[in-house]
Every structure is written in structure tokens, then in C-alpha cells.
Amino acid sequence: MALVEIRNIHKNFGTLEVLKGIDFSVDEGEVVCLIGRSGSGKSTMLRCINLLEIPDSGEIRVFGENILENRDVNSYRAKVGMCFQQFNLFTNMNVLENCVRPQIKVLKRTRKEAEKKALQLLAKVGMLDFSRASVNTLSGGQKQRVAIARALCMDPKLMLFDEPTSALDPEMVQEVLNVMRELAAEGLTMIIVTHEMRFAREVSDRIVFVDDGIIVEDDKPEVIFTRPKSPRTAEFLRAFM
């Protein structure tokens, strides 16, 4: 069954048409990577899925509901985790508290439950030893792992990643990708915008090439990387290989 189903969405920023009719779906348990040039609309597409942007037209169904008609956006967003390029940890809280506070506020968990969950997930991303640390003292890779743990604390049914490793020093990329590999192996549904082509190839069930506000190609990784149907995909990938 499709967990995410996008039909013909358009999005303009002023006079700039950023999404020009996107059709796209993701099944439960699938890992899909979005690739494409900077400015092609990948982030906007991802941000429409958790309503950080609202498309001008079209339909988005997630978990079987039309989310554009949903009035309870906050509890919807709690079910969709998002990780950003810039991590966006709360700098007024320590690592543990970053993971605990949203659970208490949004899911109304008790502090005890929330801390138990947070410590479990910090352990999972290898950041348990830093639970008392101030976020400013962490490296980029560590911050991103905490951001992933924070999102996972909400028990999301779907995770969105917007270039989670693009702001990292090269030596820190793998520690984040390893965490994501583990999540993929556990069957979490994930949509990932990335420029890490080897990772995309190995982890995804499907790869979607976005160019200039449209989906040019959407296929299995072997197809995209070895015999893309569109010359535009081939040209984009050549620049990367």
C-alpha cells in the first residue's frame, strides 16, 4: 500500500515555478532517494510532505489521509520525522533534552517515559555518552546523529532526510550514513534527498531524479545508474561519476 501518494502538485514562490506537476508515491517500508541538481525542487518536494510548504495545487495523501485538508497538523507532523542539512538542534537544550522535550510537549509522554525512549535512541545512534553534553560542543556528524535520534523518539512512521550529510566534513559522512543504513534495514520508510550516490545506490529501493521541478525518472537503482532511460539523468550522473 502507498504510504505517501502525491498527485500533480505545483508550487510557486512568487513568479518562480518550483514544482511543475509532481506525481510520486512511496510504499510502506520503502527507501527512496531523491537526486538532482541544486535548485531543482527536491527540498520543496520533501517539505510539502510534512507541510513546511503548502503546494498551490494537487493532492498529497499520507497514511491514507488527504493531509492538505487535515486540520490537526501538529499530530500529523509528529508521525513524520525530518532531518535537515543544518541539523537544527535546539541550542538552549542539552542533547538529552533535545530528545525529551518534544516527546513531553507533543506526545504528552511523562518525563520518565520520554527519557527512557531518548536514552534508547541515543544509544542506537551511538550518542549515549553525550546525553549530558551541550549541543555546541558536538561535531557535525554527532549533531546529525542526535537530530536523527530526536526525530526517532517521536516514533515516526515515515522519515524525511534533506541532504543530511551535505554540511558535514568528509570524515563524518559515514557515521551518519551508517545510522541511516541501519534504519533502512529495519524497514523504516524513508525519503532521502542526497548527493551520496554510492549510498543511494546501495540503500534505496527506488531512485527519483528530479530536474527543474519535474520528476524525470523514477526507477530501481540498477536501472538509474546503469541504463537510465532519460538522457537528462545520464548527463546528471556523468557529472557525478
Binding site: 509528529a78 525530518m82 537544527n88 538552549n92 522535550r101
Partner: protein, 256 residues
Amino acid sequence: MFISNILKIFRTYGTSLLLGVRTTLLVAITGTLAGLVIGLIVGGIRAIRLDFTASNASRITKKIVDGILNVYIGIFRGTPMMVQALFIYYLLLDLIHWTYLQAAIVVISINTGAYMAEIIRSGIQSVDEGQREAARALGMSNSQTMMEVILPQAIKNAFPAVGNEFIVNIKDSSVLMIISITELMFQAKSIAGSTFLFTETYFIEAVIYFILTTIASIVLNAIERHMDNGNVSLPMSDTNPASMNLAYHQTGKAGK
């Protein structure tokens, strides 16, 4: 001569000068704290950005409230506090029969609130937009985002400007003598009036103000340094001992 006159004033009027200092500090401290509370509320409300989930009714309400707050800020920043004090004191006198001191504290609070609202607003703007988005993406509401993430950081960023308001209030509370509160300026004026030692009295007054503002800046700087060391970010985040123990305990176990 000058020195002996000064000593004479101290001997005779020491207690009334101290009373003046007490009233000045009372007015300045309560005015700054109450003004900060007003500024947080006003600045917080003005910084709320309604998203697409907001109903039309709340959109209209927000517009009206914003309009009223802008008028409040404009008027209280755009007119002298002395005039505000006179006007408000007499405006409400028949209604609530308040004392000069009550009126003075109310006026300085509302006046400071207008400045604080702007200070808090720029503090809020200095908080990185990504954190607001992350909070919303986690499902936190507009007001939860404001209370949990934005305001604690805005206050920290705005602290130097907030402290500066306190120093301004120590000095500017002097204009409230116009409604006869017995703060330092008022006391000095009456001492000068009865001793005719104008230069000496106002010299003493200036020195006292200078000492008060200097002590205040030293204290404020110390607090600010403490914040920069990251210490004050702790009470803003959660470090209740039970949580920390739990974290430490589990960490310790994981390490073994």
C-alpha cells in the same frame, strides 16, 4: 568648604538620601522586571507567525492585536516618560485613588515594556530560523515552539540590551519626581531647597547615581560572562538532577 558642606549634608540628610536610593532602586528594579514581562508577552505575540492552519478568525484577531500593540509601542517610545507619568496619574486618580508610588511603578513598567518589546523582538529575530522549523516539524505548536525554543534563546541574546534598560531606568526614574515620589532626584531637590547648597547637593546626587549604575553594570557583566560560559543555558534547558542521574547511570552501564 565644598568638602565640609558635603559632609554636613550627609550628616543631616543621610537618611533621606538613603530613602531616595531605596525608592529609586525599588522603582527601577520593579519597572525593569515588570517591563521585561510585558516585553516578553508583547514581543512574543508580535513574533507569532500564523501558518496555513490558522483560521480566518485568528488571522483577523492577530492583525487587530498587532495593530494595538504597535500603537502602544509607538506612543510609549514616542513621548517623554515625564508626560506619561503626569497624564496617567491624573487620568486614573479619580478612578482608583492610587498613590504616587503606585502610579510611578505602573508608568515606568509600561514605558519599559514598550522598549523591551522591541528588544525581545530583535532577540527573537536573532534565533536561527532552522530551529523554529525543526520544532514545527517535530509537531510542536506555534506557542510551544515560542516557549520552549525561541524565547529562552531570545532572552539570552537580548540580555545585554535588557540589562541596559535597567541602567537607563536607574537614571530615568529621576523624571518621576514630577509626580512627587521620594526617589533620589526628589530628595536631592528638597535638600537643595532647604540648605541652598545647590552645587554640593547635586554633586552628591550625581555621585550616588554613578555608583548605582556602576554597581549595576558590574553585576550585569558578571551575569553575562556566566551566560557565555554556557552556565546559564543550563537552567533554561533541563538539568534536573533526577534526569541527569538517570542519563549518567545509563551511560555508565553502556560504557562497561
